[in-house]
């Protein structure tokens, strides 16, 4: 924080003593060209690059310096923080449902998803398997996950966006085999093989990659590539299942916050940047699947075409959330901790 002046400190001391404090911090920063992007776990590296590139582009266009701050965590938990007052100018979360939650508290317009192209989802991803070197348990597809002796690592769908995509991908596989009955049986089997449910995707990745727990990690495709990059070559392998889900992370400007900060133009330009050639190329570089065919072409070897069903197969997020993840929903019915 550049602006931790003595005046701020004194204001805070006085404020803390009285139980209130002077505002002005966020506002002062906003007028100097600053945004806060509240995002989920698996986008840390991607947005670090995006922020640098956007700041340069914005400087060329307007001559104005801009600082973009990041906050990362489990998608559901991040949405909760924004609802509780974390002043995000833009949110970039793991699934549209989490932004719907913020919209339902009146922080942004209910039609937010139609304000940007492609359902406000500038890049997509999917769910793949990360296994240990040489694939010792011979895991090739979803069916292999429920073989005896296989332990599965996935985060908690109650708090993690990635975990909800994982759950739905598994359910979709089961559904294709034999409708809802088979699907429920399959996910019940699968979640009986999870020794631990972390709160976020990055926590689950650490559990699998660093703590060495489990035989297979259900992971965002980009997260799987990142952990291979982090661990160095020859420790993990990615297994692409026969079918998976098209995970559509979503982005939105938080109306109430940008209007208060006076940052709407900047925030909208920032999100539009994600759709430009430069933004799309950065997405592909960070193993996300860009929407633009031109941007994905050079990366086709590592982001292969695969059969993907979508959230619409589950009737959209509102319905899926209610059916599967709400209290007493399918997940609560099939999951028995311990």
């Amino acid at each position: 924080m550049q602006g931790l002046s003595r005046r701020d400190a004194l204001a805070t001391i006085g404020g803390a003593g009285l139980g209130v404090t002077l505002a002005g911090h966020a506002q002062a920063q906003a007028s100097a060209g600053a945004l806060l992007n509240v995002s989920y776990d698996a986008t840390r590296e991607f947005y670090r690059d995006v922020n640098g590139a956007f700041a340069a582009a914005w400087k060329t266009r307007t001559g104005q310096d801009v600082t973009i701050r990041q906050s990362h965590g489990g998608s559901g938990a991040q949405a909760r923080s924004v609802i509780d007052g974390l002043e995000a100018d833009v949110v970039s979360l793991a699934l549209a449902y989490d932004i719907d939650q913020i919209a339902s508290r009146g922080l942004l317009a209910p039609n937010w998803q139609s304000r940007l192209p492609q359902n406000s989802s500038p890049y997509t991803s999917t769910i793949v398997f990360l296994v240990r070197k040489g694939n010792p348990k011979q895991i090739r597809d979803w069916g292999d996950l429920t073989r005896p002796g296989v332990q599965v690592i996935t985060p908690n769908p109650k708090t993690s966006g990635g975990a909800r995509w994982n759950f739905l991908a598994a359910y979709g596989y089961g559904y294709r085999k034999g409708g809802d009955t088979a699907a429920r049986k399959f996910v019940a089997e699968l979640y009986s093989r999870t020794p631990v449910l972390d709160t976020g995707a990055r926590g689950a990745t650490n559990t699998f990659a660093r703590r060495g727990l489990g035989d297979v990690l259900l992971a965002w495709e980009n997260e799987a590539f990142l952990s291979i990059a982090d661990a160095g070559p020859g420790r993990f392998e990615i297994v692409t299942p026969s079918v998976s889900i098209l995970a559509e992370p979503a982005v939105a400007v938080v109306d109430k916050v940008v209007d208060r900060h006076g940052t709407r133009a900047l925030a909208e330009a920032y999100l539009r940047f994600l759709y430009t050639d430069e933004g799309q190329a950065l997405a592909a570089k960070h193993y996300l699947r860009p929407r633009s065919a031109k941007a994905i072409a050079p990366y086709r070897d590592r982001l292969p075409r695969m059969p993907l069903f979508t959230i619409d197969n589950f009737g959209g997020w509102a319905k899926a959330q209610k059916t599967f993840f709400a209290d007493g929903g399918v997940f609560d019915q099939i999951y028995k901790p311990g």
Partner: protein, 277 residues
């Protein structure tokens, strides 16, 4: 203070017990501490220093110092006042006051953070009022301070109460009969008597204020370079796959703890030899 000479070690059982104690200490204290410094230096001192001089790391250092600089004096004033009241006076509700002072010790830090979100968050009791007036508490410096103040509230008071009770009120009573007013009694009689205990309490309070994780994590919002303290920054770096950075910042925290420990030991030495003070 009467000192008791320890008994010399004679039996094999005693030796085994000491070895067990030392072995346990090595396992649960020395080993983790060694890991922190080793991991930080895995890619050389240059890499560790580079990690510490990142703008976000420096911001976290400043934030930690700021939060401690506000919380520790507040709790020192409160702790001295509370201990003075509890130890030197009789009044109704004293038991309740002592219980309240102890409460933060038995509360989970997560609760100590969450209460502020429930009070001052956008949907909290005072949320709408604060938002209308543009005042920010949670996800900003005041929230971090409030969470830290709550967690570290008992340290100074808890250190002073037994000490002041042991000292009794004789010296104060004598001062009063000689015509000293309340402030003079406190400044000239009570304060000199408790100074080492007070310093010790302040040190412990400061160590906890700088190291607190759970409560500040709830109210922080985790904005890089803005609302992250050192412990939160360690977690963020670890989750960024930046192991060297995470452990470099962790060793800075461990270094602060070691300085505190050295200061505490020095104080105890002074305390044990009052003639040297």
């Amino acid at each position: 203070m009467r000192t008791v000479e320890p008994l010399p070690v004679r039996s094999a059982g005693a030796v085994a017990l000491i070895a067990l104690g030392l072995g346990w200490l090595a396992l649960v204290v020395v080993l983790p501490l060694a890991v922190v410094f080793t991991e930080a230096l895995r890619r050389g001192a240059g890499a560790a220093l580079a990690a510490l001089s990142q703008p976000d790391a420096l911001a976290a250092v400043r934030m930690t110092l700021l939060v401690a600089a506000i919380s520790v004096p507040l709790n020192t004033v409160f702790g001295v006042a509370a201990a003075w009241a509890v130890a030197k006076f009789r009044f109704r509700g004293k038991g309740l006051l002592v219980t309240l002072i102890d409460l933060p010790f038995s509360m989970s830090p997560v609760v100590s953070g969450l209460v502020w979100v429930l009070l001052f968050g956008a949907n909290g009791w005072f949320g709408p009022m604060l938002q209308a007036s543009g005042v920010k508490i949670v996800f900003a410096v005041p929230g971090l301070v409030l969470a830290t103040v709550l967690v570290t509230l008992p340290f100074v008071a808890r250190e002073l109460i037994p000490l002041m009770q042991e000292q009794g009120v004789d010296e104060e009573a004598a001062a009063v009969t000689l015509g000293a007013d309340g402030w003079t009694v406190f400044r000239r009689v009570t304060l000199p008597n408790i100074r080492w205990g007070l310093l010790y309490g302040v040190l412990l309070c400061n160590a906890r204020a700088m190291g607190e994780f759970g409560a500040v994590s709830v109210v922080s919002g985790h904005v890089r370079g803005l609302t992250e303290t050192l412990p939160l920054h360690v977690e963020a770096l670890y989750n960024d796959y930046d192991t060297v950075g995470a452990f470099a910042v962790a060793s800075l925290l461990a270094g602060l703890a070691l300085v505190t420990l050295a200061a505490k030991t020095a104080l105890e030495r002074r305390d044990a030899h009052p003639g040297g003070a």
